[in-house]
Every structure is written in C-alpha cells, then in structure tokens.
C-alpha cells in the first residue's frame, strides 16, 4: 500500500542512514554469514566429496548424486517425504483452519478448547514422540480401545507394520502441528473485516460462499505464512520420526532428514549425507519459489 509513496523517500534515505544503523545491520550479518551461510555453503562442496569426518575429504564429483539415484533407501525416503509434505501439510492446514473457524465464534469454554488444542505445541517433538510410542504400543491404549470396542481386527503393530507406520507417525505430528496452524489462522481471522461478511449475508450469500469468497481472500497473507511454515516444517521433520521409529521398520518410515542423520552420524558418510542435505535444500527452495512466484502472479 505505502510502497509507492515511500519508494523515492527510501532511496534518498539510504544515504542518510546513520552509521550506527549500518553497524547494527552489518554485525549480525557478519555473524550470520560466518555461523550460518558459510557452514551451509560448505555442505554444498562436501556433497561432492567422500568424507568420513576424519581423514581428508576426497573429491568424487557428482558420484554421490548418482549413488543417491540408485539407492533404494533414498528413494523410499524421498517418496515418504512427498507423502509427508502433502499428508502433514494438508491435514494440519485443513485441520487448523477448520478449528480456527469453529473456535473463532464466541461460545462457552472456547478459550479452554483453544488452549487445549494448542497445548501439544508446548511439548517438544521428542517428548510427543515418546508419548505416542506409548499410545501405539502393542498393548497400549489405542489397541486396548479397539479391543474394547470389539474392533480387534483393526489392532496393529502400529509402529512396526510398514503398511501403517508412516501414517501412525504422521498422525502424531499433525496432532502437534494443528494447534499451531489454528493459532495462525485465528490471528488472521481477527484481522478480517466482519462488516464485509455481514454485507454478503444481507445480499443472500450462503455460509459456504461467504467463507470462500469473502473470508478466504482476506486470509491471503496468513496463507503465505502458513504455506511457508508448513513446507519448511515438513521438510525438516526429524525428531518425531527419530523418537518414534528411527526410520524403521527396515527404513520404511525413513524421511530425507532421518536418512541424512543416519548417514552422517551413524555410518559416518558425511559427503553422502551432505548430498542428501542439498536435495532437501533444493526441494524446500523449489516449493517456496514456485509458491511465491504464483502468489506474485495472482497479485499482479
């Protein structure tokens, strides 16, 4: 909005930025450069080497990436990551939005519900993982409840059966994430203009139409944030999978991040692990750029 008016002022203002402000900008930038960007850049060059972390790294060109393409565990991890991005992203966004819209209306105990749903977010992912491991134990509450309901046929070795293990971990992760997305959307909903919705209601728009045509367009800013947060969170998911299954049974729940960790720190293939890190980076950047480009186009 103010971009047009402030643009010329900003240009002339650039010269008048006091030295102190430059220092404020440059000191953190230098620290960031040294502690974040430099190590990150290093992982690119490491991905072109074979390195066990002790002896000097041996440059091998793109061999790591060729090996990745033929590595069945990597391909499983990649497939799982795609499932994860859509499953984790989709379920937590839809769930969070539904909860936010439901709990945005005043009602009895709304505050309590909101806090209760947000509560899992307070607990660390590793602890959530341990908690869900107990839930999913062979004689744990979930199988126990199914047994009580007479649904013994649905009882499973939730974390040991490759057919359901990834889904079981996914549910645990969504359980935690959904409260966070809900809070983001609640904040967004507070920023929408209720008079627009009232006007649409007077004009005879149904609740569904009002939501999609009036409320959703106003949530565009929040959507961008939610999208970025979700994609980044789903690509960097590590702790909950590690705490619950360690990528097992036989690598069927391996994600790119857990496989990277295993390669780097259990088997000591730091070059190979860096190649996986580069793939994760490319995926994350790819998702975000595509999304931002689409956003920019729709805004034009």
């Amino acid at each position: 909005m103010s971009a047009q008016t402030s643009a010329p002022r900003r240009r002339s203002g650039l010269a008048r930025v006091p030295l102190l402000v430059w220092v404020f900008l440059l000191v953190p930038f230098a620290i960031e450069l040294f502690w974040v960007f430099w190590p990150a850049a290093n992982s690119f060059s490491l991905s072109l080497t074979r390195w066990d972390g002790i002896t000097p790294a041996e440059p091998i060109g793109l061999q790591n990436f060729r090996d990745l393409a033929a590595d069945p565990i990597f391909l499983t991890a990649l497939r799982n990551n795609v499932i994860w991005v859509f499953g984790f992203g989709g379920l937590s966004v839809v769930g969070g939005l539904v909860l936010a819209v439901t709990l945005n209306k005043p009602g009895p105990l709304v505050g309590l519900y909101r806090s209760a749903i947000y509560l899992p977010m307070v607990v660390s992912l590793a602890v959530s993982g341990l908690f869900w491991r107990v839930m999913y134990a062979p004689d744990g509450p979930i199988n126990g409840t199914l047994g009580l309901l007479g649904l013994e046929s649905l009882e499973r070795q939730w974390l040991a059966d490759p057919a359901v293990a990834l889904g079981a971990v996914l549910i645990a992760a969504v359980w935690r994430q959904v409260g966070y997305i809900m809070v983001l959307y609640l904040a967004g909903l507070k920023g929408t203009d209720p008079t627009l919705e009232e006007a649409a209601a007077v004009d005879g728009a149904s609740a569904w139409q009002r939501f999609w045509r009036i409320v959703m367009p106003q949530l565009r800013g929040v959507n961008t944030v939610v999208f970025a947060v979700t994609v980044i969170d789903s690509l960097r998911t590590f702790d909950i999978v590690w705490a619950m299954t360690r990528g097992g049974p036989y690598n069927e729940t391996q994600l790119l991040s857990t496989y990277m960790f295993q390669q780097a720190f259990t088997t000591g293939n730091l070059g190979y692990a860096s190649a996986i890190a580069v793939v994760i980076f490319a995926l994350a950047i790819g998702f975000i750029i595509t999304y931002l480009a689409r956003q920019a186009r729709t805004e034009d």
């Binding site: 000191v27 295993q262 720190f265």
Partner: protein, 435 residues
C-alpha cells in the same frame, strides 16, 4: 514500513543510543567469548588434575555402580558424562575427533576400537599391558582383542558377558519342559510351548533392530562356524552365498515361534513377556538379568544354542566392554591413571557386585567364588567353548550393522522375499566395504 523510515529521519533519541551502545557492547563481548573458547578451550582443560569419563552406561544399576567407583577414585577430579548408548554411538567419532576430547571413553573391544586406532584417534595404552601394568595378567584372547594393527594395545577391557538362550526355571517347571540339548529337541520344545499357547521365543526389534543379529550370528556360528562368520563379516564372502541362505533357512523355521509383538518391543521390553510367563526364551546377552525384577533374577537360567552342524567347532558370543583413551585429550597421564584404576581387580570386583548385571571380570585375580551361580555358569560356558566371537557390530562395524538391521528385520517381516533381501544386503554391504 512507515516506522522504519522515521528512524532515519530524526535524530537518535537518548534511549536508542544507549540501547545501541549496549548491543555493540554485547557484540564485542560475544566476540571476546568466541575468542576465549577457541583459544582457551585447550588451555582451560590442559590444567592437569581433571579427566572426563564419557560413557554409554544406560541401565540404572550398572550406572550407579560406575558412579560409585568414580566417586571413590583418589586421583584427578573426574567428570562423568553418561550418554544414552545410541546417542553415544552416533557421537563417538565426534568425541574422538574434537580438539578437546574426553580423556577416557567407554566402548567395545575388537574391530570397532581397531578402526578408530587406525585413524590415529586412540591413545597407546601399552604401558598398562606391560610389566606390572594392570592388564599384564589378562588372557591372550583379551590382549588380542585390545591390540591394533600396529601391535599396540589401545583398549582396556574391564568386563565381558556371554550370549545364550535365557529362560525362567520356574516357568519351565510349570510348563513341564526342560532345556534342550539338541537342535531337534529345541524345535520340539518350541512346538510344545506353542501348543500350550506360549510364545516360545521373544525378541525386541523396534528401536533396537540389532537384536535381530543375535540369532543370525548364532545360526551362522552353528551352521558355518566361527571362521566363516568372521570372514563373512570382513567382506570375504557374500551375504547371498548358499552358506548364508542355509543360515536364513534355519532362521525362517524359527519365525513362527517368535512373540507376535517382537517387532514393536525394544530389547528391554522383550524381557517383560518372559517375566510374565507369556513368553519362554530369549536369546540375549547376560545384561538381560538387570531387565528382570529383582526377585526373579535367581530364577533365571540359560542354555547355549544347541549344535546344528557338529562338524564346526562350538563357538559362543562374548562381547567385551571396557575403555579406551582419546589421543586428542590434554591429560594423557590422567587418562592412564584412571584406566588403571577402573581395570584394577578391586574396581572390577566392586563393579560386578554392584551392577546387578551378569558381567564377567577380565582380571584373572577377581575372586569369582562369591558371584551368583548364573555368572559361575557363564564363566564355565566361555571356558569350555572352542571359539569366541563378540557380536555382529563388534566383529565388523556399525555401518555394516546398519545393513544387517535393515536386511534381517525385513526378512523377519517378509521371509518369503529372502532371496531378494539377501541380494540387497550384499549390495549394501559392498557399499560399506567400498567406502
């Protein structure tokens, strides 16, 4: 946006100036800190009189026993860092590589320690093995396990234990069965127990998938012998060779006997059904005794996996635990002193008595007459065996163990794909040997 432009438009207020000064101060302080840690990290720890003992002792009683030992140490001040085993395994390379490495670390003898020694990360502890050194009287087998490729000793073994099929005497009595003495009897016993609605065997493969290697090791030892087993783990044979297929065929016959929850249990959880008489037998290391309630420990007994092929020498697995010292630490003398203390006859005696785990002493001078009958039987088992191996990862590497974990847990879940699983295992193993 509008707020940001105003800052540049007006003069700085006093508050902003102070805040700015404070930030600058903090930044320079931070820089100073960075300077001291890089420059002074070594210097700080170089003051002799302090040693760090990084260890992976996890179970409650052995941990308490180690703490008591360290507390009674008269020498340098010891910082005891206990890290969960899996974490320790993952971080061990980093510990040893760091410029300010912990002086003494607990770990395993054999090829794992040797591979670190080959990289120059371990301190030469030969002085302890010579003259009147604390390890001078240890057996030749232990000396061999603790020696690196260059002929130096780099490891101080302090205890070892045996693997066997553990069971509860009272439960066997209740079910009217006896420990088997032949492979056919073992299968008959499993059939009998299954018929009574008891899971004959238990195992814990969820976060401890390496437990699947216990049966693999023993079946390979019984079918192909210790020599073949060592060669296989050193990459001299392929995992899809007919010899390994024969081992897997034997393993396949056991699959129906395992507790149906084995894939969900951890090694520790898997002892629970045995304690509750729902499951009968557990092929596991002697550390399992500490997983049982105290009042059941005297009830435990074991038998060795029966002979399958009587043309191969009888072999048992006896993993050896102990300590090595980092070459990159500052207090080498302190490390040697602490190692001498930990390996001394008296310390071993005290540790074994307090840890509640069925460990065997490495020092021949430890008085074993006071130890439990179970431990006595363990000592006898190892004294009478012709060959000793350690365990899959200790006889190979953690990287090869990872390939075994994948292959064996998958095999146990889908035994019919054995052929393709073995091919995948061999491919993965070749990758490990090539790197």
């Amino acid at each position: 946006m509008s707020k940001r432009t105003t800052i540049s438009e007006r003069a700085l207020t006093r508050r902003e100036l102070i805040a700015g000064g404070m930030t600058l101060g903090a930044a320079s302080l931070l820089a100073a800190c960075v300077g001291t840690t890089t420059g002074g990290g070594g210097g700080g720890a170089a003051t002799t009189g302090a040693v760090t003992l990084q260890n992976s002792v996890q179970d409650a009683e052995p941990k308490a026993a180690l703490e008591a030992l360290v507390k009674a140490y008269q020498g340098d001040e010891v910082t005891l860092n206990s890290v969960a085993t899996e974490q320790f395994r993952a971080q061990l390379t980093n510990y040893l590589r760091s410029g300010d490495a912990p002086e003494v670390l607990s770990w395993y003898a054999g090829s794992v320690a040797r591979s670190y020694a080959d990289e120059g990360l371990l301190l030469d502890v030969s002085p302890l093995w010579q003259g009147d050194g604390v390890c001078a009287g240890y057996s030749d087998a232990l000396r061999g396990l603790s020696t690196d490729a260059a002929g130096k000793q780099i490891f101080v073994p302090t205890s070892y234990y045996w693997w066997s099929v553990f069971y509860k005497k009272s439960a066997f009595e209740k079910w009217g069965v006896e420990a088997p003495t032949s492979w056919d009897e073992f299968h008959a016993l499993c059939e009998n127990l299954s018929g009574q609605g008891i899971a004959p065997l238990t195992n814990g493969l969820s976060s401890t998938p390496w437990m699947a290697s216990g049966w693999f090791d023993y079946l390979n030892l019984r079918v192909n012998g210790a020599q073949y087993h060592r060669e296989l783990l050193a990459g001299e044979h392929a995992f899809n060779d007919p010899e390994v297929v024969a081992v897997m065929e034997e393993y396949k016959r056991l699959i129906p006997y395992f507790d149906k929850n084995a894939a969900s249990y951890t090694a520790q959880d898997a002892a629970t059904p045995v304690a509750q008489d729902k499951s009968a037998m557990y092929l596991v290391g002697a550390f399992v005794t500490s997983y049982f309630p105290e009042d059941q420990r005297d009830d435990l007994d074991f038998f060795s996996v029966p002979v399958i092929n009587d043309s191969v020498p009888i072999a048992e697995e006896a993993p050896t635990d102990g300590y090595f010292a980092a070459a990159n630490s500052d207090n080498h003398q302190g490390a040697l002193d602490l190692l001498s203390y930990l390996a001394s006859t008296q310390s071993q005696q005290q540790y074994i008595e307090q840890s509640g785990s069925a460990n065997l002493p490495t020092s021949p001078d430890v008085d074993t007459s006071g130890l439990s009958p179970l431990v006595q039987k363990g000592i006898e088992l190892l004294n009478n065996t012709e060959e000793i191996t350690q365990f899959f990862n200790r006889d190979s590497s953690d990287a090869l163990q990872a390939t075994a974990d994948t292959a064996l847990t998958k095999f146990l879940a889908v035994p019919d794909s054995m052929k393709s699983i073995l091919d995948e295992w061999q491919t993965a193993a070749e990758g490990v040997f090539a790197s």
